[in-house]
């Protein structure tokens, strides 16, 4: 990468970082391009040189955030051979990432939803990718006889939603104080449901 490419990339970074802050704080609609430019140490024109529109900037941000999130979770899962434990790992990692980055959580789970129909596709994509990750574990678990056959696709969606909601509550209401504290109860719940585990298969 030569000099000017490096500079270009670092400018993009500045803008994306500022955009994350501002979009997460103000929401897509209320975020002002002016404000993002100011925080990027750029001018409005400069910002528009790197991104063709506010929408494209938000999309790029969602893209990047999604990718960071997914790749980190996938990496963590890769190390774990047991399918169900792999799910636990995914859960732990998600709580860990969001727990350390409330801004990211707010962006992906709160602001992206109401930002407008233009972003639904991207969001649906992220949700689907996540659900697939989990559905994959479950398929493996079923194949290995660790779980009975069931609608693993829907289970992935529901799993993701349950986690989502716990994170969202943390973002909006500040409970629990440390997001990661929700792990044990959430893990148990996702595995065994509200009826709880059979006596001989817990842990």
């Amino acid at each position: 990468m030569n000099r000017s490419e490096t500079k270009r990339a670092s400018r993009r970074r500045q803008v994306l970082d500022a955009a994350l802050e501002v979009f997460a704080r103000d929401g897509y609609g209320n975020a002002a391009v002016d404000e993002i430019a100011r925080r990027s140490d750029t001018s409005k024109g400069g910002l528009y040189f790197h991104f063709p529109s506010k929408q494209a900037l938000f999309l790029a941000l969602l893209d990047e955030a999604s990718e960071v999130l997914l790749s980190r979770v996938e990496r963590a899962m890769a190390a774990e051979p047991d399918p169900l434990a792999r799910g636990d790992t995914a859960l732990r990692e998600v709580l860990h990432i969001f727990g350390g980055h409330r801004t990211l959580a707010r962006l992906l789970l709160v602001e992206a939803l109401g930002a407008g129909r233009e972003f639904n596709a991207k969001l649906t994509e992220l949700h689907a990718a996540f659900a697939s990750l989990i559905a994959g574990c479950l398929d493996d678990a079923v194949a290995a006889g660790l779980a009975p056959p069931h609608d693993t696709r829907l289970a992935g969606v529901a799993w993701f939603g349950a986690v989502n909601q716990v994170v969202t509550r943390w973002v909006l209401a500040g409970e629990p104080e440390r997001l990661e504290d929700a792990y044990p109860a959430l893990r148990q719940l996702l595995r065994y449901g509200v009826a709880g585990p059979r006596g001989d298969e817990s842990r």
Copy 2:
């Protein structure tokens, strides 16, 4: 209720109905008060006679929608003595209501989230009320020995999130075609988790 009160109430209704349509279609930020007024067969000034601001109108809408939803679910639950079955009923009712009212679903689950910090409190309230409903069932189930002691509060949140996500997917991605088709798999999942039921307790 005398004549003029009736008229006043019906005007409010017209406006709220139109607002539901428009907010759900365009999102809070993109919705134009003009458009809501037009659809209410009123003028902008007329709308502002009944609601002091766009924000207040949205809030009133959230209030009403929340209350309708909750009260219908509570009514359905009241008829069911068994705690766990009560949870199933809640699930079925939620899927039924939203399944027949995509607009309502979009408003409460999608648009309300990104609408701005002003609405977070109201939304948190709704989420909490729902989670409490479920937590109540679970507490009863635990008391009746139908489920082991666990963090029922968190379980309520997760339960609600799981349902939420399934509905949201339906709203955003159109899957499954009939929302209520998700009931059996979702019920099983919420009850017994991804690990599935013990052989002797599946219905």
Copy 3:
């Protein structure tokens, strides 16, 4: 005056009183007809029954206030035979009236000016009437040999302006604390100018 005429008149009074308060407090442009109606214990429709428009109401108020002011000053002057002393009396009475009715002062001297071209005529009329009152004294004084011939018309205007400004300062800046304290210095000034009186004619 029969029953209904009495009622009608008292309604007008209520409205005019409220209008004085509100116009003086908020200025013509910022005053809301709603607010005046509310303070009159009437409805907006009721107000419009008695006055055809906001403008007409303000005009009626100016009319009444002007007349009250002028007639009180004229009455006070009537008792005084000496022309120059009559001017002093006018001055004392003006300071007395305004000093006890800041609202009135604000209405006539501050808010009426910027209220719009529609009111210029009425205001010019009031100013002219006042100036004439003084010019009359001065003409008498000249005729009596108490003052040299001069442009008494202009002198009336200037006299009125000097008093005006003192009152206005009191309204806007609160100085002097008691408006009537300005009397002695102002009297001297109006009579003898900044050069002061001849040694033998100062009181």
Copy 4:
């Protein structure tokens, strides 16, 4: 001053000039920002780039107008050593400036008054500055034995008011046709009051 600064300044000028016209013609409340923008050969957004609000624009205008007026009067006064003649100069200059700029007169003496409480402070300031100018002359005159000791502060206020009213009459009623024609009579009046000068000191 470089190129872009010049341009920026000239834009401000255009806007201020247009604002003077429009505010003086329509009054603060009735003036439309749109109209000012149109007359400035700018867009509304362009105007708002240079001034943060209608209020701020009006304030800037008052500031500038006050300063122009005061500095021109002060300059004229500086050339005159005799204290009382200095007052005459001030009077002549004021009549000269306003006489050649009816718009300015209308803005400062008519529209600024009723524009709203937000502008009272600025206006009071202008009035006080003017009164001080005159009070200064009088203090000098007293020190030089040209006038007896008296409340020079109040005299400054009254002096200013007298002039004010003559100008205001000219603005509102068009009398006298040429404002500067009022000079001789007004000068005499301010100096010697309605009682006229002693025989030996009139010019």
